[in-house]
């Protein structure tokens, strides 16, 4: 089966990242629309298996990482077939060294099964189960152990050239967005970033991809002018059906997605029926897609790919930094009151605090703009580059609702937004909207509670 749509997923030891799972879900819709196959590439997810094809596989279990043995044996369980996928376009001499020692084989993996390996089986299964039955290529290599755009592009560009897809879907994360543009240049591809939906042009069937501009108040549709096209995909794109704002469905989709966010697993395997699912879903109803029918009808295959060694990287990862200031713990808060640029000045934060003080278990967070102005610490920042929160109630005060902020809070169960601008993008995700000046609204709320307290006395 040719794969028109390729997803480059991201993984942590815990499995595919939620953003990746949603990107796969989006890619599935694209694949359905083109009627062709879907492949998922997972680079760098198995640091312990870096030597998989390069050295022999005398590997030990460690931490939450998978060994070559575990990968091999689990893949047998999950997938029907395993290929050792040679790096395309490599020199023969290079190849032979790798091939000669690429000693993974399903029987060996199974034969050496130990309880350690069994544990790791579960780990690997976690990666594979969420690819929704798509062909999966696990990419390992020492150069991928720590992320750098250079190493990812070195590995992915030749592989993608070889796979020759029409659509390359990357999660719009700090990584996908980092290496995606460079990858597009190497593939001479079109590039569309922060995609949150797509539709087909009626006239000629062309794909139009939707994205937000101007703090989310405007949207644009972008048409690729060549193949392939590299897309970096926002999580909400997973739930947005083919239709975009031209139909009435779009806001529904956004909302449905917000509700479904806690249960991305259901979405992952959604078959062709999934396309219209959110259109008919009642308001606020959780979206659960039917179990995947895809994987049963088309056997999934798992392949391994050894990343070529990167001899002299110009960009050398030095590792993750210990968090300088401990991140603020929002996890116990039932209500998060978040301040945005609309509060106008640092001294108005007191009002936000007082509003939060009305609720028994409340916390105060903020948007990046507030941190950048030095009004609050970065540890309280909510959004793509800050915390991701999903409290029962989120009260956004003076937050415009640009995409990076929405990424960190849109899964909140109930969202109340207070903003002067009725067109603020935050109202797109809010359940309850209050168009008012914060500096008047919050005092009005406080006054109301005080009055009620007086009456109760």
């Amino acid at each position: 089966m040719s794969a028109d749509v390729v997803v480059i997923a991201e993984a942590s030891p815990a499995g595919l990242t939620p953003a990746s799972v949603k990107t796969i879900s989006f890619a599935r819709r694209l694949a359905d629309a083109t009627g062709e196959g879907l492949r998922v590439l997972i680079p760098g997810c198995f640091p312990e298996t870096a030597p998989i094809a390069a050295k022999d596989s005398t590997l030990t279990a460690s931490g939450g990482n998978m060994t070559a043995k575990a990968v091999a044996s689990v893949s047998v369980g999950v997938a029907n077939n395993i290929d050792v996928f040679p790096p395309p376009g490599r020199e023969k001499s290079n190849m032979s060294e790798k091939e000669g020692k690429a000693s993974i084989s399903p029987p060996a993996g199974r034969g050496n099964s130990t309880s350690d390996v069994d544990n790791e089986n579960e780990n690997v299964a976690r990666f594979l189960e969420r690819t929704g039955g798509a062909e999966t290529i696990l990419i390992s290599g020492e150069s991928l152990a720590a992320y750098s755009a250079e190493a990812w592009m070195e590995t992915l560009a030749p592989l993608c050239r070889d796979l020759d897809p029409r659509f390359l879907c990357l999660p719009h994360t700090s990584r996908g967005w980092d290496y995606g543009p460079g990858l597009a240049i190497r593939l001479e591809a079109a590039l569309i970033g922060a995609v949150d939906g797509f539709r087909r042009e009626e006239a000629d069937g062309a794909f139009l991809f939707r994205r937000s501009i101007l703090k989310g108040q405007w949207q644009q549709e972008v048409r690729p002018e060549r193949w392939p096209v590299v897309l970096t995909v926002l999580p909400e794109a997973a739930a947005a059906a083919g239709a975009v704002s031209h139909s009435d469905a779009a806001p529904d989709d956004t909302k449905a997605q917000a509700n479904a966010a806690g249960d991305t697993r259901g979405e992952t395997g959604s078959g062709p029926q999934g396309t219209n699912l959110s259109l008919s879903s009642p308001r606020h109803a959780p979206v659960r897609t039917p179990p995947a029918t895809f994987s049963s009808s088309s056997p999934s295959r798992t392949a391994f790919y050894a990343a070529p060694a990167a001899p002299d990287p110009r960009c050398r990862p030095l590792g993750k930094l210990p968090a300088g200031e401990a991140a603020y713990d929002f996890s116990t808060a039932e209500v998060i009151v978040a301040a945005g640029q609309g509060i106008g000045a640092a001294e108005n934060l007191a009002l936000i605090e007082r509003l939060a003080g009305l609720f028994p278990k409340a916390a105060v967070g903020c948007s990046r703009a507030v941190c950048d102005r030095g009004w609050m610490e970065y540890r309280r920042q909510i959004g793509m580059t800050g915390r991701t929160v999903a409290p029962p109630l989120y009260i956004a005060c003076g937050i415009s609702g640009a995409m990076p902020h929405l990424a960190g809070m849109r899964d909140s169960r109930c969202i109340v937004a207070v903003n002067r601008d009725k067109n603020a993008a935050i109202f797109q995700v809010a359940h309850l909207g209050i168009v008012a000046d914060l500096l008047a609204f919050i005092p009005a709320v406080l006054e109301q509670t005080e009055e009620e307290a007086r009456r109760a006395d």
Binding site: G182, I185, R226, G319, F359, I434
Partner: protein, 326 residues
């Protein structure tokens, strides 16, 4: 040491916000040329001041360059923008902040597409036309607007302002025979929000690149440069990168300075080099076919005023759902 800072003149988001204009309606309704006016007239300076400004992320990039020059005083800072003539304004500002030289890669409105809605050009790119609020119901907007200007041959839609790829390709073509040790750009443009131009430019020039740089240290003008880049969830990763390199600068890395009066006066005497760059524009790889205001969500239930009533209903809403004690 030569440092290049890519600067985009952006459309101020609040300038596009409906209802943000003074009495008499939206700013666009009052001042913006409409599609029927044909060739674009650039707005009066006061209007342009309101509508356009330096992308704030690029201010952080320029500030970072200025700090590097404080450390290595022999360093020279070039500020560069791509767009029509009005982009001189942000370059002037860059000179006032302390840039040594300013270059405008001038792309005329015709070449940049005369009739684009707001779109995502990036660092250095600009909009060739002011957007108008378009009601979502405006029929067939892409085609309906195509009468406003002659389209380029072979384009069925009015080409929009420069895309990130076009901007990067123009800059890359200009830089072919130049040498810079460090290129800085904002992490994204506040209007287009693509965050791609820097990475595209780096790859076109074959330079290593780090995005969302929140901390940067240079111990020698020859590099390498130590950077920390911001990742999802507020995590940071550190990298050591050989020069020449390109960094896209995240907000929060520094506080951009206000130009000192002496610099403002000095900048008056400085020349802005203008290079005709329309010929450097590549074949676009993607095209913005439509821009429109997002429709308001039908899901959001708005509380009607007046204020005390809104406050009362808000509290009722919270009580009803058990967030507040009854």
């Amino acid at each position: 040491m030569n440092i290049l800072v890519c600067i985009k003149q952006i459309l101020a988001p609040e300038a596009v916000s409906e209802g943000s204009g003074g009495p008499g309606g939206s700013v666009w309704g009052n001042d913006a040329p409409t599609a029927k006016e044909g060739p674009r007239n650039f707005p009066a300076p006061s209007f342009a001041d309101y509508c356009y400004r330096m992308n704030p992320y690029d201010e952080h990039a320029l500030e970072e360059a200025l700090r590097i020059r404080e450390q290595f005083p022999e360093a020279k800072i070039d500020a560069l923008a791509v767009g029509p003539d009005r982009c001189r304004r942000v370059l002037r500002r860059a000179l006032e902040m302390g840039a040594d030289r300013a270059v405008l890669l001038q792309v005329t409105p015709a070449a940049a597409g005369g009739s684009g809605p707001p779109s995502s050009g990036e660092a250095g790119a600009t909009h060739s036309q002011e957007p108008r609020p378009m009601s979502s119901g405006e029929p067939g907007s892409p085609h309906a607007r195509s009468d406003s200007k002659p389209t380029r041959p072979g384009s069925s839609f009015p080409p929009s302002a420069l895309t990130p790829y076009e901007t990067a390709a123009i800059i890359a073509a200009y830089l072919r025979d130049k040498t810079h040790d460090l290129i800085l750009a904002g992490v994204m443009a506040e209007d287009g929000m693509a965050g791609q131009t820097g990475q595209l430019l780096a790859e076109l020039l074959g330079l290593p690149c780090a995005t969302a740089v929140i901390s940067e240290q240079l111990h020698s003008p020859h590099g390498p440069v130590y950077v920390e880049r911001e990742e999802d969830g507020g995590e940071r990763s550190a990298y050591e990168i050989d020069l020449p390199a390109l960094l896209t600068i995240q907000s929060g890395i520094n506080r951009p300075r206000y130009p000192a009066l002496s610099h403002v006066l000095r900048a008056r005497a400085q020349e802005i080099v203008v290079v005709a760059a329309s010929g450097l524009r590549p074949t676009p790889r993607e095209r913005v076919v439509d821009s429109r205001r997002r429709e308001s969500s039908s899901e959001c239930e708005f509380l009607p005023g007046p204020l005390p009533e809104q406050a009362r209903q808000f509290l009722g809403f919270c009580r009803q759902r058990g967030f507040l004690n009854a």
